[in-house]
Homo-oligomer: 346 residues x 2
């Protein structure tokens, strides 16, 4: 057993020099062994390894990278809404899985829709010389990243298009996904379909609304402005919105909710009003435990794992020299029919 209290003065960490002295070789030889370069005799390798083992030597990557030609830190910065949010967490996980294969570690940071925090986090990443950046942004403009792009740092935007600069972007097919969900309700016979969306400022929200409107138009259904409620930030607001909708003279027979938390708010409200078996509901973005609710919730699911994987792949491609112009990667959605979206109008 080793404990903190037993230890005397904290020993200094062993350096490459220490290992070299103990092994009776020069530092560069140790460096060669540690980095598995060629042209070292088996015997020398063994001696160095033994010395390193004995001293519990851990190479210092920061010091190494300081002189190394490419100055890579084998580090990535990931900025998401919140690491505690399931969508972000899935993106994070996918990025991590891609990164670990290249021995790259990832810094993750939550920004909580706070523009101040976006800048602060990005600067913190930059000071730490991350090799690349994967960002969900909130700021009005990302032009402040221009210099990094020019210096050749790979930057991939995720889930939102950047403003003020051109860079690789990975996006859910919000437009088609929302249209698809809406079409699904139209196909079930609904004509009065409400739209619940979040802040009009958010790119994804705008796209989803557009998809909803497009689908209606294509079917020759005139959108009713009273059925379109936006700027719903959280569950409680969505609940209120649904209550209002149901109180209309000619209430909607179906609801398309364009975001996760809004869908949950809608479920709560529909249930409280005893309308959950009567009013159809399709949500954009999957909801946890959706299949265990009654009715089970039909959703247009995003694929956060794919988003994270594509973003990471792109970063590494660019790090490996890919230099084609910035591109948008569109990730398709998947309609998951579970019940709530298959309710027909009375």
């Amino acid at each position: 057993m080793t404990s903190l209290s037993e230890s005397g003065m904290p020993r200094k960490r062993p350096t490459m020099k220490n290992v070299a002295d103990l092994a009776g070789v020069g530092v560069k030889t140790v460096s060669r062994v540690i980095n598995q370069e060629r042209y070292v005799s088996a015997d020398t390798i063994a001696r160095v390894m033994r010395a390193a083992e004995q001293l519990q030597y851990q190479p210092d990557v920061q010091a190494g990278n300081l002189r190394r030609a490419d100055r890579r830190t084998d580090t990535l910065g990931l900025l998401v809404g919140s690491v505690a949010n399931p969508f972000s967490a899935a993106v994070h996980r996918a990025v991590e899985d891609a990164a670990i294969q290249r021995h790259v570690a990832v810094f993750a940071s939550s920004l909580d829709d706070d523009p101040e925090r976006e800048r602060a986090s990005v600067e913190a990443f930059l000071r730490r010389r991350v090799d690349g950046l994967i960002l969900t942004t909130i700021q009005r403009s990302q032009a402040y990243l221009g210099p990094q792009l020019e210096q050749g740092m790979p930057v991939v935007f995720v889930d939102r298009k950047p403003n003020g600069l051109i860079a690789d972007t990975v996006l859910t097919d919000n437009l088609e996904g929302a249209a698809r969900g809406t079409r699904h309700l139209l196909a079930a016979g609904h004509r009065r379909i409400a739209f619940l969306g979040d802040s009009e400022e958010i790119y994804t929200a705008k796209e989803r609304k557009r998809g909803y409107l497009d689908a209606l138009r294509l079917e020759g259904v005139a959108p009713d402005p009273r059925l379109v409620i936006e700027n719903l930030g959280e569950e409680a607001q969505a609940e209120l919105a649904v209550n209002e909708l149901l109180a209309l003279d000619d209430p909607p027979t179906a609801i398309f909710s364009a975001q996760n938390l809004i869908t949950i708010g809608a479920i709560i409200a529909l249930r409280a009003q005893g309308a959950s078996e009567r009013v159809a509901l399709v949500g954009f973005d999957d909801v946890p435990m959706a299949s265990l609710l009654s009715p089970a919730v039909t959703v247009v699911a995003q694929d956060p794992s794919a988003i994270g994987a594509i973003a990471a792949r792109r970063i590494f491609e660019r790090l490996d020299g890919e230099s084609e112009p910035a591109r948008d990667f569109i990730v398709p959605t998947r309609l998951i029919k579970r019940g709530s979206g298959e309710i027909r109008p009375a």
Copy 2:
């Protein structure tokens, strides 16, 4: 607009020397300004700031820390089950919130119950010279961290007690929580209460089982070994286990499920058997959307945010010089009555 394709040769990043030259001062003066040291004239500060601004200078923390006395990297390593798992994600978020206040960035890594990955991740953290480590471990022994502890690196274990060394640990009160959940079922009149647990190797699983058994014993109920099913790793296994239980001649009237996914498996099975309104269920660890299920799920909730916050606080205390012996921090649970746990025996 700035784009990748417009840029010519990637320019080299500006260094402190560049700023110094542009401002017409020595490097040390720039260093003083950047680090906000005293004894620099207001005029000089202004000149340096202007030059830094103009060159878009970003200090390189790695280079700085190389020579700095305390050798801090302002970096933390966090190892959790999976960043995509809600419990871990909440811990992560709490750690991040504490870290950001001190301008500390956190590396998060998922270990997926893979001992190999545990070692690899910890080594990756160590090579990057993190200032501290917050770990959910899986390996049989963590003795390999002994040298780090001796060197004075703060290490806090979370959710599991380490083996082979003594270090600060933050734990849910598994024993009392499980006992509490079990007592809740006993108080409702149940005498045949099943226990569903995961791998017997896991510390928390052992504690929860002990809590269950203690509660039964204290009430004078002899535990029936046929009602105790362990080593349930995932939902599907839990479902099978519940099916077996319900097929007994004298089936349980209540179930205490000792883990998240197991609880979900139990819900699915009970519902499939039409038993969810008849057999009581209390789960350890909260379940997403629990209050929207029917019946809503009664749980003994953990407090992952508190766990993360305490772990981070401890790391920083130690970094600030605290040297008291390693301690266990026990985080209480909370019984949330929602319905499934209040069903009485027939």
